[in-house]
Symmetry: none
Subunit: 224 residues, 4 copies
DNA sequence: AATGAATGAGGCTTCATTCAT
DNA sequence: TATGAATGAAGCCTCATTCAT
């Protein structure tokens, strides 16, 4: 029995102009990825960010603009970071690819960024702006980065000659799928949690790189 | 593949009511996959199926029941067909897996079924019923089918010892990703259409099976 | 004590597709003129027209379009009718003007049309479309009609030479003011109802026409 | 009419708080007359007065109180001034009326006061307080002032016997209409600006007074 | 006294669903 | 059985007002 108060107690107002945009984006990413953009009410986003309905609109002029901010904010920085990471690496393409994917995976899977993939898959068709942005800021740089390494490996004879773009997708697609899974079926209650995702990715990269290796006997024959 | 003239086109006036449910499901799958469940108006579904708004409700009691019908209808039959296809196959696990995936892929990618994956990814979290159904009717049988073949390959020494479940995912995930892509980014206008999907899948399965082989030189011998 | 009914009794639905638009326009005119466009809730309009909120939007796509329909619907027809009425009249300009204004006034003042003037005055600045329409469909034809009669009277020597456009306004403005008054101060409760409006207009036209007459002595001198 | 350089412009930093209420009222009158009370945001009023949103509420407890202040502030003083002006005038009623209306018109039309009429017309029905105030402080004194002059003219034989109240309206209504016009249609862009308003009013008063004269030939003699 | 971030009631509009025809 | 007019709950967004700074 708490002391009954007649006056409707307003939650204490906080002025936090600087922090709000990020808090709203974080809340929105969670909810949009969980329920979809259309099924998320803007009031829910505000509530999860700890503000009132109207406050959201002080920072983003509409729910749609919020969506665009959510998507553009997370991804570009990750790609840039990994590209930087790969620059100037010395060693075999095999080990560089292992490094790159391990790095990327560690940044993405356990972070909220993993949810962005679901959001993009789900919403591009409704918001063409997003398609253009995602292609230019994510798909192209990432494809270029990995594609160049694979290409180098083929030219050096480390990998057998094979379609480069397809190889990139063979490497990357399962990682994205795992992100999607995490935010869809994987988030549904009574799941026998599918193996350790980090272990899976390590094994997946290993299998693919194994499958890329130039056939030693063939190359032996070719060299001989 | 198309039967040019023979299809018995029923005159539109006497389209019999037995065809309606399937027409509604087809229309709904297209639209739900394109725009998402929440963003699709039930009137649009009716319109695409060629009936009036009210008619939809004579066949499905609510938009949500329609969604469940859409998802449950397409997938179970495919899995059953492929399982049947694999039963009693004689030959190497490598070639069986190539057969199975080729068969499955040819059934799924170019058919409306490819859209179901996007729908499931998008909507499971909002409709827990769907998660249960999808796990039981799709994930488990499919995983079991492929997993058993891989396991057999390992036991027979054809494949190197490796985590089975992970291997299944390495094989399957890119195929699902390609279905998702087809209905999201891939459907957005100015796309350099990513390679031929059938070619990609053939190469992907090849790379992975290559990476699974117990002894490269042995396989080289086998191939040679 | 009426029989209590548990089920929420829905008012009987009526299908009246043909009659709705006019009913909605009539309701909207009353309310917009009474409270102003911005202060009228679209639900009130619907309620006064005897339909539910959503029904309004089956006939007009937005509150603003409803406003435009309200304004354009009433006025054009009145002007046309009066112009028709004046065509082919034979007699003095003085008596023609009396006829025209009596006719116009009898059509407008006691009908809902009187409210349109308030609406136009109030809302033109917010909706430039309305200004263009009103000028073209009302101001210009009406000014032309009356102006031509006055001009004829001047040329024939029946009226003294005087600015024509100003004269038209001297005649018309009090009539419009009376319409405005009827829907503003005049509608506020404890009013000593200002004289009979019809009597006032008759006297006003009489005074102005009196004031327009060519000075008999002057013209006598001029003629002599 | 403008005093070019002499106006003591206060440095904006030390604009003293005594000026604020008038600045707010001026800003509010402009905006309320332009867009209507309901369609004007209180933040706009504050901005036009050069203060922040919150500051408005330090001077007026609500938007509605601000409206009442706007209306009551402007008009009473004008009436008083003109009444004073008319008191003790010696000469014909005809010339007194010309004087009075010229004086009143020169005070009102080119000043912000002209906007008050639109505001009253628009908002009385929503705010009954305003009706009472306006009747008592404006309509009655003004009617009384003009009515008495007309009455005197009739009793003295200068004007023909005619309904006094109606005559007052015949004189005054076009002036108010012109004020309304200035703030509605007249403010909409591509207007062939209707004649000079001052010229129009002079002619209008002339026509009406002409129409009031007891005997045209007598007046002809007077003029001649 | 002044500011402007924050609040939340309230209005416009959409759309799943119902039901008279 | 099929239709589509009608309904009203619910979501997006605005803005008068409050209050921490």
């Amino acid at each position: 029995m708490s002391t009954p108060v007649a006056t409707p107690t307003h939650p204490p107002r906080q002025r936090r102009k600087e922090a709000r945009p990020q808090e709203l984006i974080d809340a929105a990413l969670e909810l949009f990825a969980e329920k979809g953009f259309a099924a998320t009410r803007s009031e829910e986003v505000a509530a999860r960010a700890g503000v009132a309905k109207g406050t959201l609109y002080l920072y983003y002029p509409s729910k749609e603009e919020l969506l665009k901010a959510v998507i553009s904010q997370r991804l570009s920085s990750e790609i840039a970071a990994v590209t930087e990471y790969a620059r100037g690496y010395r060693g075999s393409c095999d080990s560089l690819l292992r490094e790159v994917f391990t790095e990327w995976w560690s940044r993405v899977f356990d972070s909220p960024t993993s949810a962005v993939f679901k959001l993009v898959i789900t919403e591009v068709r409704n918001f063409p702006d997003i398609a253009a942005f995602y292609r230019g800021a994510v798909v192209e740089p990432a494809t270029a980065l990995v594609g160049e390494i694979v290409e180098r490996g083929i030219r050096s004879g480390e990998f057998r000659p094979i379609d480069v773009h397809g190889t990139v997708m063979s490497l990357v697609f399962p990682m994205i799928m795992l992100c999607l899974h995490k935010h869809s079926l994987g988030a549904c209650a009574p799941a026998t949690e599918m193996m350790d995702p980090h272990g899976f990715i390590r094994q997946h990269v290993d299998i693919v790189l194994h499958g890329l290796r130039a056939d030693p006997s063939a190359s032996a024959r070719g060299v001989a």
